[in-house]
């Protein structure tokens, strides 16, 4: 069986729709290691947040850290599209531009544990991107900036790179980031505090609805300076504590 050595690249001549790319990237079955993450839910519950507050936790993220993630992804996408579309940047310059976006994200993500987890998750996406869009200049540039043991790029920057490579529009990218965060919490909830599994999907849709008012503005961002800078300090404290525990189902 030599399937593993002959990856099939998506055809560039027949562009895929943003809807298709979104579905694939939002699918929990996508093999990027997402199943070991709970979007901060396990740290929150271990930190004492009552399970009844999970819907509120989800909405809280929509108005804070998810804005940072989505804004970062959009600006990374913009940089990647600009840098490749007009052929103005070489891979090295593009890597520098992506690193600038990454630094803006890091400055808005004070918890080291949260940053580490994002970078480790990004490596799963890097692997996927390097297989599916190996030749794309933004993917090549992102790999330059992601050589372990040096700092690897964060997950939202990688999502922006993939959006540029795959042809995902900026608004869809924002909605993807929002949905993925909420759905990660919903799926982890069923393992941590089991309940009727038909209920959490309603929370996910409520979170997505709550994000709609931000979508247009976030999708229009082009500068790293303009990425929102909301924080969730209690959640970050939980993440820090979780990174030091020896009892966890989820990485974070």
């Amino acid at each position: 069986m030599n399937l593993s050595t002959t990856p099939l690249s998506p055809p560039l001549s027949a562009p895929l729709s943003s809807a298709t790319i979104s579905m694939m990237l939002a699918d929990a079955r996508l093999p990027v290691g997402g199943h070991v993450h709970s979007a901060g839910l396990e740290p929150a519950l271990s930190g004492g947040m009552p399970a009844a507050q999970v819907p509120g936790y989800m909405l809280g993220r929509v108005r804070t850290v998810t804005l940072v993630e989505a804004g970062t992804a959009v600006v990374a996408r913009h940089v990647a599209v600009q840098g490749t579309g007009q052929g103005v940047f070489g891979a090295a310059q593009l890597a520098v531009a992506l690193a600038t976006v990454d630094r803006a994200w890091a400055a808005r993500t004070p918890s080291r544990a949260v940053r580490d987890v994002s970078r480790s998750l990004a490596r799963g996406y890097q692997r996927l991107a390097g297989t599916l869009w190996a030749e794309h200049p933004a993917v090549v540039a992102s790999a330059l900036g992601s050589t372990p043991p040096g700092p690897t790029l964060s997950r939202p920057v990688l999502l922006g790179v993939i959006a540029a490579a795959a042809g995902l529009d900026a608004e869809s990218l924002v909605r993807l980031v929002v949905y993925d965060d909420a759905q990660t919490i919903a799926a982890a909830m069923l393992k941590l505090e089991p309940l009727d599994p038909a209920i959490p999907p309603g929370w996910v849709l409520a979170a997505c609805a709550a994000a709609e008012e931000f979508v247009t503005d976030l999708a229009a961002l082009t500068s790293a300076d303009a990425i929102p800078a909301w924080g969730a300090p209690e959640s970050e404290g939980w993440a820090e504590a979780h990174s030091r525990t020896t009892q966890r189902l989820f990485r974070a």
Binding site: G33, R248, F250
Partner: protein, 259 residues
């Protein structure tokens, strides 16, 4: 040191990756400790553990003092130990690559699965070969009952043979049953207190490494999981499910598929 393992200047050397699977408590961590104790002086080793709920296996192995603690790393599995070694091996692959990079060159990386009943097997995209571990305390019938790991892992270990007199198990009969279920594939009756059996295990690893380096070893897939219970994984009585491409249910999880 074995020959032909000169460090390369740039790209980390690709180690021989060996998976260790089998039910909880059969002695996977202990077997890894035994292999390390037997081979650490002649081979450069690394270990990855996949615990279900803690990093206890990694801590146990570090405290066994058989390997530098930095060479033993734990990955989380999100309560899906079977997923992390078979369908979405991303976190394990990254962990192996990190070890190979940080301790370049490594000869062998041993990966312990988070015990998932009788059924979890490793993807050949993650490991070059796998050991499936049973113990005599599980009863003499287990080997005959079969399953993909028992039937088709590269090596089946019947562990803790020193306990056989206490649990009333006839080891030669259990081994013979296993050999039948495996259509002749290798079965090793092991006890960490039986030096000859430990040496046979070490020799198996050495032989595999020679084949791996010669490019004559081809990773085999033992096959997908059979339907099983998850009594230990999520607590409470488990629902019968399987881990093939079809939809199935875990306790408290919606029906889902793993690819």
């Amino acid at each position: 040191m074995l020959e032909n393992s000169t460090p390369s200047s740039s790209a980390p050397a690709r180690s021989l990756r060996i998976g260790v699977a089998g039910p909880v408590g059969t002695g996977k961590s202990s077997l890894i400790a035994t292999v390390c104790r037997a081979l650490a002086a002649e081979l450069r080793l690394g270990v990855i553990t996949n615990d279900i709920y803690t990093d206890e296996d990694a801590r146990f192995l570090r405290s066994a003092g058989v390997l530098e603690p930095e060479r033993i790393r734990a990955v989380e599995t999100g309560a899906c130990p079977h997923t992390a070694i078979r369908d979405d091996i991303t976190v394990n692959l990254l962990a192996v690559e990190d070890l190979e990079r940080d301790f370049n060159p490594l000869d062998v990386v041993l990966i312990e699965s988070g015990g998932d009943n009788l059924t979890a097997t490793f993807s050949p995209a993650l490991v070059d070969a796998q050991i499936f571990v049973l113990d005599v305390a599980g009863g003499g019938d287990v080997a005959r009952k079969g399953g993909p790991g028992i039937a088709r892992a590269d090596l089946l270990v019947v562990n803790k043979t020193d306990l056989a007199p206490y649990v009333g198990v006839d080891v030669p009969a259990m081994v013979a049953d296993a050999e039948t279920a495996r259509e002749g594939r290798q079965v090793l009756a092991l006890s960490r207190s039986d030096a000859a059996s430990v040496e046979t295990l070490a020799a198996w690893v050495r032989g595999l490494l020679v084949e791996h380096r010669a490019g004559t070893h081809t990773p085999q897939d033992p096959g997908p999981m059979a339907p099983h219970f998850h009594a230990d994984e999520e607590g409470g009585p488990g629902l019968l499910h399987s881990h093939d491409e079809t939809e199935h249910v875990h306790d408290g999880e919606p029906a889902h598929t793993h690819h």
